[in-house]
Symmetry: C2
Subunit: 327 residues, 2 copies
């Protein structure tokens, strides 16, 4: 004899209540719905004796309870910090995390997207600069960090524009008069481009002298180009670098020119890198809210998996952190 209790699905509940699957999912997962709708769904659940268990909730019944994270490389403090927080958030929800270093090999990403289509993973969080638009434009549970694919792919990012503004404000507040920006530029426009936009806006508004070194990626002879730029602009006293690793390289070259921060110039990076949870910041920086980025990415992804509509774009606040390269 068929076990009715076990065979009842969310679909049966939706059918009986005359509502969509998403609505049932909202009720089951404790989200707000109209009171009249709530009653219809609750009645149907009771009539059918439908019992969602922790693992079988949502639209998809064939769950693996695994998520994949696609990263350029785990061997980088920003990505390992992010993965650390993603795993912590997922672990609370009983999900396991696959890790995938792509290192600019898009075939690995596509392989994971295939796993997603075959229900071998339930969702993907991707930090990727590859040309995979065609693969993720469908309705798969995919959340992007820092890059906008299409309206269907929710993405989570730091407030890069405000970060650039903040960098300029902090340098000016600390007495810098001759500002400079140094960073690369990818052919795919992404969120990090807003950093320089915010920096330029404040620098111009405040009437500072402003030098720019914007290098198209991939960058050849990076250190030579930075060195020439610094030699040609000897009066620079406040630098904003597109990220912390770029800032560290600039500091190395400044050292070759016998200039030391924060005595001879001040410099602010972006990311707020530490090498580990209990370590100091590598340098003064605009800190990305890595823990919050991870939390919101996980939340959006679980919403997608459960048939809910997460916000399509979330921009999270950044802050300035003192790391010894500003006065």
């Amino acid at each position: 004899m068929k076990d009715l209790k076990k065979s009842m699905t969310m679909k049966d509940v939706a059918h009986l209540a005359g509502v969509g699957l998403g609505t049932v999912s909202r009720v089951v997962n404790g989200y707000n719905v109209k009171e009249s709708t709530l009653k219809k769904v609750q009645d149907a659940i009771e009539e059918l004796n439908y019992q969602p268990d922790e693992y079988a909730r949502g639209l998809k019944t064939n769950r693996s309870n695994t998520i994949a994270i696609i990263l350029p490389t785990i061997w980088h403090p920003f990505f390992s910090e992010f993965a650390y927080h993603v795993e912590k958030n997922l672990s609370k929800k009983n999900y396991k995390l696959f890790i995938c270093n792509v290192e600019s090999d898009a075939s690995t990403e596509i392989e994971y997207i295939e796993m997603l289509k075959n229900n071998k993973v339930d969702g993907i969080i991707g930090i990727t600069y590859s040309d995979i638009d065609n693969y993720i434009s469908s309705n798969l549970p995919f959340v992007s960090i820092d890059r906008h694919f299409s309206e269907k792919v929710p993405y989570v990012t730091s407030d890069n524009f405000a970060g650039g503004q903040l960098a300029a404000q902090e340098l000016i507040k600390r007495g810098c008069k001759n500002l400079a920006y140094i960073g690369g530029e990818n052919i795919y426009r992404n969120e990090t481009d807003f950093r320089k936009d915010g920096f330029f806006q404040v620098a111009e508004e405040r009437g500072c002298s402003l030098s720019k070194l914007i290098l198209p990626e991939p960058i050849d002879d990076l250190e030579v180009k930075i060195k020439n730029f610094l030699i040609e602009n000897p009066s620079i006293d406040g630098i904003f670098a597109v990220n912390d690793f770029m800032a560290l390289r600039i500091m190395k070259i400044m050292g070759e020119l016998s200039k030391v921060a924060p005595k001879d110039y001040q410099i602010i990076g972006f990311d707020g890198l530490k090498t580990a949870v209990d370590q100091d910041y590598l340098l003064s920086s605009i800190k990305q809210p890595t823990d919050l980025l991870a939390k919101e990415a996980v939340k959006s992804l679980l919403d997608l998996i459960n048939g809910l509509e997460p916000k399509s774009r979330q921009v999270l606040p950044v802050e300035f952190v003192e790391g010894g390269t500003t006065r």
Copy 2:
């Protein structure tokens, strides 16, 4: 009708050939066996028309093609570098990698070991200092890094003793006369303890003055203890720290005492940390062969999964790397 070709297992081959499963596995995976045995197995394979495919090889037929890595935390450059290499090696063999931060919560580790027993993962690589001996003493595919559990658990480690010797030799070669060792000590003796043993041996052999600060873990007031030790021993000119992060802390405290490396003293850490693949070493250090540790750990684990016997202990060579804190 039953499809004979498909239903034939390695067990059937072993039975017909009158050999053990491990022997059939060795033949199937191309390892050396006695010529007379090889013939018996090949005959049985032919007679049964047994066809091992890439995914169904080995003793276990219920493969998930996933491996889990258990780490204290992925947010630490040594562990993220190691995980990076493990994923690269596994990816070549078509395995996916689960990542698990344990952060001294042994229940997470035990959960993964349960997954292993239930064939949800095929094997585990563990860097763990928890009390999980009772859980992994069985015949599960588990490879340990840096810690010896029992004869049944193969482990892979760096040559910590030689690393300690090397640190002493390099400091002495560079003119240090008054050596010091600073490190913690865990209640579970592990491979890292050999670092100080090697260091002490060379220091004593060469008749150097030697100061020791050995702190039982967990360590309270670490920086106060280090500072007092350095004040009490002002003639120290060569320090070996148990790892790079400890060395960075010592350097910070030396800075408070107005001493800068390598001008006023020299210091060597252990691990050879970089913050990312294309970055410089954080300081002069004894570098662990992280890529090789990962490669051998993966190899041993896949051997175990395929019913072969890997070496029970592998000790891999270390090297000295210049990172600006030695002359």
